[in-house]
Structure formats: C-alpha cells, structure tokens
C-alpha cells in the first residue's frame, strides 16, 4: 500500500515538474515577441540594437519610461492589440512634448485608436496596399524607395510585408504638424475588396506610408506596416538601416519596446503565474525568519542522518 502511495506521489511530482518546465521553457511563437526566434519574432532586431550600442528597455506588463533623458529616448510600438488607457496616453503625450520620439508601426491593429487618443490627425486605412510593379516577390510586399524631410535619403529601400496606407486628416487648429516622409510607387493601390487585383474603384497612385507628426519638442513617427522589423523582414532591403537612420537623426540612445499591449495566451498567463510564484518563493527564502529555520532544519537533518548511519554501521559490523 505504501509503495503504491509513493508511486502515485512520485508520478504526480514528476508530472508537475515536467509541466512547469514545459511551460517555462517551451519556445515562444507569438508575433513580435522578443524571445521568439521564428520568422515572426523580434529576436534579431533586439540583437542588432544591442550590437549598435542602443540600450533597450522592454516593458512587458506596463508602459514605463527609463531614467535616460527623454530627448534621447524612443518608444517603439509594433502592432498593438490592446487599447491604451488614458494614463498611458497622457504619459505618451508628455513624453513627446518633452522631446521624446514615438515610433508606431501598425497596419491592422489597434494603432488607430492610439492615434485618435493622442489627437494625431493621421489614420491607418486598414486595407492592404498592393503594388503591381515596384515590389519584392509579391505585390503585397511593396518596395518603398527614398525618404524625404528630416531623414532625407534617396537610396533607402524599405520592403514592407502586407502593409496598409496612411490617411492624413484635414483638421484645423491641431497641435500636431504632419509631414509625409515616404510614399509607395505610382503603381500602388489600396485593395479595398481584398481580391488581390486592381478594380474599377481602386486607384493607382502613390500612397503615404510613413509620416512624422511633430508636437512640442518631440515627434511621433507612424509607419503603416507592423512587420518591417520582424526576423524574416529585418534583413530585407534597408529595413533595419531605415530604423537606425530614424534613431540617429533624432539622437536616440535608448529604445523602449512596448510589449504590454498584446493579448496573452493561456500558456503565457501560466508562465507569468509560475514566475510570480517563484518570485513569492524568493521572498520567503530571503526572509530571515525562514532562512534561520531552514538552516536549523538542514543541520538537524544532517546530524540525525549521520547519527543513524553510524549506529547502523556499528550494529551491523562483523
């Protein structure tokens, strides 16, 4: 009976340990995850930033600002899924007005809601932009050639991955000044009915894809594609160079990557819960009261074991 109980306990313990280890060490496959080394992750991007001596701050639970000067800081938001609270919007507005740089890369996410809350007169159209001629491999991978404005560079090519376009709203008395710095080619069109073809109501013309909205001493840069920096796109064209050019133009030294606005899967929630339990356990372990008790326990166990073994050896000695 005892052996059965022991077996059941052993099985349960090993199963729990295996489950915990599987949760903790299972590969991350979520879009824009920094630990994700698959095609849709940001592991390469983070490595490149580190290589180029940018200090990177990743906000996993809450959007926070570093202690570095705001004029040398950039907040990078890629394809957000969850809306931003009014406090976060206020934080972002203060950040921009104090000279910070916000880069929002989004196509079909909740970026529009953020733009609306920030009062920026730019919207993401939310329909795919296709290019019949100036593309890389497929028409929904349009190539953007040349940048104007502050980041003037004629020989830069950005390869996008199913982007949308930007729409600049005509609003008077707005605190933001918007400048378009990159547009698609003359052969691009918005595929409103998603059939992948140019139809009668769809017009071929250059559409804005990157815009800078200035306010106070800072700026918000809006890019109509969230995927130009993912692992499979970062080496295409001059995608990383484009971001580096933006950062160097505005003297950015610290990049804050906002990872707190994505929906979390069950596995991620479990992982977070396990990590929080580990942290709580760490608090208990660090508590002096428990440390003393643990030390006494270890010493007592060792003494009792040594004593028992010695006795047994003596008893059984031939």
């Amino acid at each position: 009976m005892k052996s059965i109980i022991a077996l059941v306990l052993l099985t349960l313990t090993s199963a729990s340990l295996t489950f915990t280890a599987a949760i903790l060490y299972s590969p991350v496959t979520k879009d824009f995850a920094i630990e994700n080394q698959q095609w849709n992750g940001l592991s390469d991007f983070i490595s490149l930033l580190a290589r180029d001596d940018f200090s990177v701050l990743i906000c996993k639970d809450q959007l926070l600002l570093p202690s570095a000067p705001l004029s040398e800081t950039c907040i990078l938001i890629m394809g957000p899924e969850l809306p931003y609270s009014s406090d976060e919007v206020e934080l972002l507005l203060n950040f921009i007005e104090s000279g910070g740089t916000l880069i929002l890369l989004d196509d079909f996410g909740s970026g529009n809601e953020l733009l609306k809350k920030l009062g920026i007169p730019v919207r993401l159209v939310g329909k795919p932009l296709l290019d019949e001629v100036v593309y890389s491999k497929r028409p929904n991978f349009p190539v953007i050639v040349g940048l104007t404005g502050d980041v003037r560079a004629s020989n830069v090519t950005i390869i996008m991955n199913v982007p949308t376009t930007l729409e600049v709203l005509n609003t008077s008395a707005n605190k933001w000044t918007v400048t378009i710095i990159a547009s698609s080619s003359e052969y691009s069109f918005i595929d409103y009915n998603l059939n992948g073809k140019l139809d009668g109501n769809e017009t071929k013309r250059p559409y804005p894809v990157i815009a800078i909205a200035r306010r106070g001493r800072g700026r918000a840069i809006i890019v109509s594609d969230s995927s130009i920096l993912i692992n499979c796109m970062i080496d295409e064209g001059n995608n990383y160079y484009f971001l580096k050019l933006l950062l160097s133009t505005y003297g950015v030294k610290t990049v804050v990557l906002d990872y707190s606005h994505y929906e979390k899967k069950l596995a991620e929630l479990l992982k977070e819960r396990i990590v929080s339990y580990f942290k709580e356990a760490e608090v208990v372990l660090r508590d002096p009261l428990f440390s003393y008790a643990l030390t006494i326990f270890i010493v007592a166990t060792i003494l009792i074991t040594v004593h028992s073994v010695a006795k047994r050896c003596k008893r059984e000695h031939i």
Binding site: G146, F290, I318
Partner: protein
C-alpha cells in the same frame, strides 16, 4: 452475384485496354508565361525597344510615346506588359528629371557669369532635390528590371547596358554640378581682389533704457581714405531695416528708439556696392537695452508669531517704469509662497509650518517681474517665531509583534489643555527610514482613536518603526511625535518555518523513539522469574523447523540472544555484535557461550558470506539450540 462481379471485371479490362491504346505522350509542363513567350520573340522585342527605340548611348530617352503605344498592341503576357509600361514611364520620368537638372545647372552657370553668386547658391536646394528624385526613379527602374530578369533571364544582356547609360548620364550631371559648386567657391575667393571699403560707425548711447533715443552715425571710406557717397542699409536685427545715404563726405546719421525688451541687440550698417569696383563692407555695433531698476520698500509686516500662523507683508515696488507687473515670492527656511502683483503696492502671505523652530528667522522678499523691462529685486526682514505656550501629550499603543496578514491597529490618545482638532499622521517605516505605508486623519484632542494601517503582505520579517505625528490646528499648541518599534513576521515565512520545525521535531522524535525501544532493560530478569519468562519461552519454543533460511536463522539467533540476556542477566545493547554477545555469555556460562559462538559462526557464513547451509550444519544448529535450552534447565 458472381455474374455481376465478372461483368464488372470485364468492363474494367476493356476500359484499361482502350485507354492504353488511346494514350499519347505527356507534354512537358509549360506555364502561361512560357507559352506566351513561345509565341512572342521576347529577345528581339527587348532589343527593338531598348536598343533601337528608347535609350541611346548618351542615356537620353527617345520615342517613349511610340514604345508605349507599341506595348499596348503587342500580344505579350499582361504581367510583362504592365512592368514594361512602368519601366518606360519611369525611364521617361528619369529623362525629364535629368533635363530639369541640366536646365537648372545652365541657369546656375548664367548667374555665375553675371557675378550673382548668392542667387546661384540659392539654386542648390532645388538641384539637390532633383538629384534625389532621379536616384529614386533609377532605383525603381532597377527593381522592375530585376523582376523582369527573374522571369526572362535572356533579356539581361540587352537591358543592363542601356540602364548603365542612364546611370552614366546621372553621374555626368553630378560631376558637372560638383564642378559648378567648385567654380562658385573659386569665384568667391576672386571677389576679394576688389577695393576694400570701410564703415566707421558709432552708436550713442550704447547702453539705453527701453524707449530711449539712440543714434547711429559715421563715415564710409575706401581703403585709400576717399569718402564714398552711396546707399547704406542700417538694420536692427529683428526690428527694422532702413536705407540711408552718405553725403559727399561719406557721412551718415540715423536716430531710432531703443526696443522695449531689455536684451543685447546688434545694429548693422551695411554697404552693398552698386558696381564691381568696390567690395561690400559692414559695421556691427552692440546695443544693450537695460531693464528699469526696481527696489522693494516694506511698509508693514508681522514681526512675531507662532508656528502655523501666517506672516503678512505689505510693501511697494519702487521703479522708474510706469508699469509694474510680476510676482512677490516670500522664502523662509525653504518654505515659499508666491503672489501676483499688477500695481506697485503688494500684500503677501506666508504660513509657517508646524515644525519651524522658535527664534529669529530671516524672511526673503523677492520681486520677479513678469514684464521684460523690469529688473528683479530683493529685500530681507527678520521674523521672531515663538514657542507655543501649550503642549500636547500623545499616548500611543500598538502591537509589538505582528503577523503580516494582519493590519496594524494603533490606539492614539492625544491630551491637551486646549481643545483643538489635530491631524494625526501614522507611518510604517523601515529602520533605514523608507516609508512603507502611511495614513493621515483629523481627530479631536482628549479622545481615544483607533487607526488602522494596512501594508503589503509580502513584507520581509524584521523590526519596523511606527511613527505617529500629531499636528494641532491651534497654533498655541505645540506638535508632538511618537516613534515606536514593532516586529512584523511574514506569514508565508512563518508557515514555512513552522512546517520546517515540525519536520525537525518529527525526525528527532523518530530517532529518539528508536533508541528508547532498543534500550536494554535496567534490571536483568533472573531465572527464577518464571512467570515473566512464560511468554518468551513460548515464542522460543516455536522455532521454525527450516533453519536453512538465513532470515529464519537470524531471527532464531536474535531471539535466543534476547532470551539468554534475560536469563543470564547480561546487559544487552544495540552496539553489541553477535560475537561480543557470545563472549559475554561465555563469561557467565562457558559451555553455552561456546555453543552460541559455533551457532554465530555458522550464521555469519550463511548470512553475510551468502553460503548455503549444509544438512550437517542445520542438524548441528538444532542440536546446539536444544543443548542450550537444556543447560538453562528451562525445558524438561
């Protein structure tokens, strides 16, 4: 059923034979583009478009309209047609941009010839922008071409050299542009050969108050000292720019009013020659507009007061300016207050904090102007802060030991001679001074109050400080403070500690219990105590018949030893081996002892040496056992 199956089989055979006879050779797979390519001779078409019609060896585009119309008519794949159409359009756009660059460069050279270098320089931004556009267009041409070459690699040899001509054309234009820029630089240096001119100008006064009249006067000479009669531009940067003339002696004079905002200004007198004989010259003078001086005259103020009372200061700002606007800032021991004033007289207040020490304090009164033409000023007064006449006693009780799941309840009883409301601030602070939790309430004096302070349950077990601060609202009562300590135990740690201690106790108890059970009897039982021996004897008599089993043998030996220990009054301990016990038995009864030793030897060989017992050995063991029992005279 069988007939049906047979008919089906026959039909299947017939079908197979018919299909095998009618089958033809399988064609090689061709996609749509290849089929179209097979119909249209792609290479000659590209040769015709790019070599004969579109791009010449100078990189100049011709017949683009003709090529576009030709493409419309040609039966080539739609995808190729779209790309070629775009390619021709981009190439035409490139051509137009290059032509614009050429036009701008020609314009630039014309301006240089006229000696208008500044205008020539102004064209730079336009030309740079055109170069950017041409580069972007060329990159787009390359992207389309690479895409076409992926499908039709054969066309590379035809199109590539022609696109290179375009690049060469752009490079040539860029070289020409660089040469022109270089030429401008050289001409700028040559400009210095002309006759130098000199403006000798004076500004009076060079330091003025806002609105004062300021004159600028002087002479214009050549480097040989000859006076020049010409036009001069006098400019006060950001305010005005006027043209004046020098007389035949080269003299000029201009009077203007000093700006209303105090600052440092620059007055520039500039001579721009009307012909190519003289060089331009200018004179730069600094004008300093000073703000009106101000001073604070204090008319009345509170000279003595208790902490928490308000200082009132009345005064006047003295200045030459008719308009006084700004702030009065009162500062005393790091406490400040601010009041806005619109006229020269003011009344300002500063409430003293409860903690200010009694004695003389210096109060700083500062005037910070809101208008730029006034200067800030400052004045000091001495204030006496008196000790409040009434004291406050604070009785505080709180637990000395607490588990982190419970909040801290503090009982506060402030007692005072005067009735007053009090603000009570309760703080939980680490021994290093970091505040963990705090709470503020307003209560009445001479009454007991219970205040509950919550904090995070994840707090680390340690000593903490409880600080209670009572600030009376009546300034006649002095504030008081209480500082106490308490030990907070983290609940989780406590639980884990208790579990750990329980484990220690269990382990220790087990170890001790084993020792107690194996403890030898304090008194040995004599042979005459037969009644007590009865039970044991019964067990001994039930010896197993099969002694060849080592376990049975061990049990037998152990039982026998226990029995002998009782009967022969031998002290039996756990540390004693079988041999040692045999020796002890030998001392009491040598015969039984030697029999037991022989039994032990056989046991050791079988139990530890893993030897199988022989029949003789088993017989010996039985007989030895019987003998020992007989010798003890226990058994008949």
């Amino acid at each position: 059923m069988r007939t049906h199956h047979l008919a089906l089989l026959l039909l299947l055979i017939i079908c197979t034979v018919v299909i095998s006879y009618s089958s033809t050779d399988i064609m090689r797979h061709m996609n749509y583009d290849e089929v179209e390519e097979a119909r249209v001779p792609i290479l000659p078409l590209f040769k015709l478009i790019f070599e004969r019609l579109l791009i010449d060896e100078e990189g100049i585009i011709r017949n683009s309209t003709l090529v576009l119309s030709l493409l419309k008519e040609l039966p080539i794949p739609t995808v190729l047609k779209t790309r070629l159409d775009a390619l021709v359009n981009y190439v035409s756009l490139f051509n137009e941009t290059c032509s614009s660059i050429e036009h701008q460069l020609n314009l630039m050279q014309g301006l240089i010839k006229e000696g208008n270098l500044s205008q020539a320089r102004k064209l730079r931004s336009d030309i740079d922008s055109l170069f950017d556009n041409a580069t972007v267009t060329l990159i787009k041409v390359r992207i389309i071409l690479n895409d076409i070459q992926r499908t039709y690699p054969i066309v590379k040899s035809v199109v590539e050299p022609r696109i290179n001509y375009l690049e060469e054309r752009l490079d040539k234009l860029r070289n020409r542009y660089n040469k022109i820029l270089h030429e401008i630089e050289i001409l700028s240096q040559e400009y210095q050969v002309r006759i130098n001119t000199l403006i000798n100008a004076t500004l009076f006064p060079s330091k003025a108050y806002p609105g004062d009249n300021v004159s600028v006067y002087g002479f214009l000479f050549t480097e040989n000292g000859e006076p020049l009669s010409s036009r001069l531009t006098v400019e006060l940067r950001g305010f005005f720019k006027v043209i004046t003339r020098t007389n035949k002696h080269g003299y000029f004079r201009l009077t203007f009013r000093a700006p209303s905002i105090p600052d440092e200004y620059y007055v520039i007198v500039k001579y721009v020659p009307e012909n190519l004989t003289y060089k331009a010259s200018y004179a730069l003078m600094k004008l300093r507009v000073m703000p009106f001086k101000t001073s604070i005259k204090i008319v009345n103020y509170t000279k003595a007061l208790y902490p928490q009372e308000r200082i009132i200061i009345e005064g006047v700002i003295e200045s030459n300016s008719p308009k006084v606007k700004g702030f009065i800032i009162l500062t005393m021991d790091g406490i400040t207050s601010e009041v806005t004033i619109r006229t020269s007289s003011f009344k300002a207040y500063l409430t003293l904090p409860y903690y200010i020490k009694e004695g003389l304090h210096e109060l700083k009164v500062s005037f910070i102007p809101k208008v730029p033409f006034l200067e800030p000023s400052q004045s000091n007064v001495t204030i006496l802060v008196m000790n409040p006449p009434h004291g406050l006693k604070l009785k505080v009780t709180h637990p000395a030991l607490l588990i982190s799941t419970n909040s801290i309840t503090v009982h506060v009883t402030p007692t005072s001679e005067l009735e007053s409301k009090l603000m009570i601030i309760v703080k939980l602070v680490t021994m290093r001074g970091r505040t963990i939790s705090s709470r503020a309430v307003i209560i009445k004096a001479n009454q007991e109050h219970h205040l509950t302070l919550t904090y995070s349950p994840n707090i680390i077990s340690n000593y903490y400080r409880i600080e209670v601060l009572a600030i009376p609202q009546n300034p006649l009562i002095k504030y008081t403070r209480y500082i106490g300590t308490l030990y907070i135990i983290n609940f989780q740690s406590l639980l884990m500690t208790l579990l750990t201690l329980l484990a220690i106790v269990l382990l220790a108890t087990r170890a001790l219990a084993t020792r107690v059970t194996r403890k030898p009897p304090e008194k040995a039982v004599t042979i005459r105590e037969l009644a007590k021996m009865e039970a044991m004897l019964e067990e001994v008599e039930k010896l197993p018949e099969e002694l060849h089993e080592p376990r049975t043998l061990r049990k037998t030996l152990n039982l026998l030893e226990a029995f002998l220990a009782r009967v022969l009054n031998i002290r039996f301990s756990l540390s004693m081996t079988h041999r040692e016990f045999s020796e002890e038995v030998k001392k009491k009864n040598p015969l039984i002892g030697s029999l037991l030793t022989s039994m032990v030897l056989i046991f050791e060989r079988a139990y530890y040496g893993l030897k199988k017992l022989k029949v003789l050995e088993i017989l010996f063991l039985r007989s030895a056992y019987e003998k020992i029992l007989k010798l003890l005279k226990v058994r008949e």
